[in-house]
């Protein structure tokens, strides 16, 4: 069976690791009570990871537009193919929506992102105490939605590998 291109595979796994890392860090850092240097560090790392995901997602979308993915095996029903396609589409949307919502959330909170502590990123909106809790909720629920879809995506991949044994997972393995 035809595999994804090396570039697509590399981007998929890099983004996967960064998303899992940023999500875990997000859960840990928001659970730290009060104020500590560790907390501030985690917040910055979380933002750097998110910005990296956004940049890589943009690259990945460009690559995807000019490189058709391998076709699904004929053993997959049209419904399954549509479901898989829909899930991938939703994950693509969230790869953008989650970091962008986080970026605007931190801007509304008055803490711009200095990428890797070196590069100040554009301040697109002024601090906004009214918008801040709204964006916090948006960022939280988009992240939770993405976590649910990532779990679904993983379970589907495992089902293809273990139950269907149709080689769909192997197309994306490093």
């Amino acid at each position: 069976m035809q595999r994804y291109s090396r570039t697509a595979i590399l981007l998929h796994w890099l983004i996967a690791l960064l998303i899992i890392g940023a999500f875990t860090l997000g859960l840990i850092m928001t659970g730290i009570h009060g104020f500590s240097p560790t907390k501030l560090k985690y917040y910055s790392w979380h933002k750097w990871a998110g910005v990296t995901v956004l940049a890589l997602a943009a690259l990945r979308l460009l690559w995807r537009l000019f490189n058709a993915p391998p076709a699904y095996p004929a053993t997959m029903s049209p419904f399954q193919q549509r479901a898989a396609h829909g899930l991938h589409l939703a994950l693509y949307l969230l790869m953008f929506a989650v970091p962008i919502s986080g970026y605007f959330y931190t801007l509304a909170a008055g803490v711009p992102v200095v990428y890797l502590g070196l590069f100040p990123l554009p301040v697109l909106i002024d601090p906004d105490p009214a918008l801040k809790p709204v964006l916090q909720g948006v960022h939280y629920w988009l992240s939770m939605g993405m976590a649910a879809l990532v779990v679904l995506h993983t379970l589907a991949a495992l089902k293809h590998a273990i139950i269907d044994r149709d080689g769909v997972l192997r197309r994306m393995l490093p």
């Binding site: 240097p37 501030l40 910055s44 105490p129």
Partner: protein, 183 residues
Amino acid sequence: MKISLFAPVALLAVVIAAVAAPLKTDAAKSSVSATFKQMNVPVEAKFKKFAAVIDYDAAKPDTAKATVDIDTASIDLGDPEYNHEVAKKEWFNAAQFPKATFVSSSIKPAGAGKFNVAGKLTIKGKTADVAFPMTVKTEAGKQVFEGTLPIKRLAYNIGEGEWKDTSTVADDVLIKFRVTAAQ
């Protein structure tokens, strides 16, 4: 007769008081803030309560004096949780040291609308000599005093314990002030 004797003295006293009286500052158009870097991100915290007393006569700039009292607990970092944290012992210890004060020792003219200010800054019970440039200009019929004073937070014990590590919160802090006063 008694009255006419004391009248000139009383009048003189009133005149002196009028000349020496500090300028009437406009709190709504005045601000004091501290800008610091956390993980290299500049963050500006505003002090919501402070009292600036400025004795300044454009005709006699050499006699100018300034005192600023800042309520350390009035700091606003844009998040109530963080505001609460920095009032604690490791940072401002606002319960024990509710005020940070600046008292000028000399204000020397340094060209048109410019002054070199020296004085003592006390934060968290620690006093240090500071010097910084200040500008004075007239805006909409009011005098505006502006300046930036760089300090090192650790010199005042701001950020104790694990916060002494300057890799997360830098040692350098810029105190910016803008005081608007009636002519």
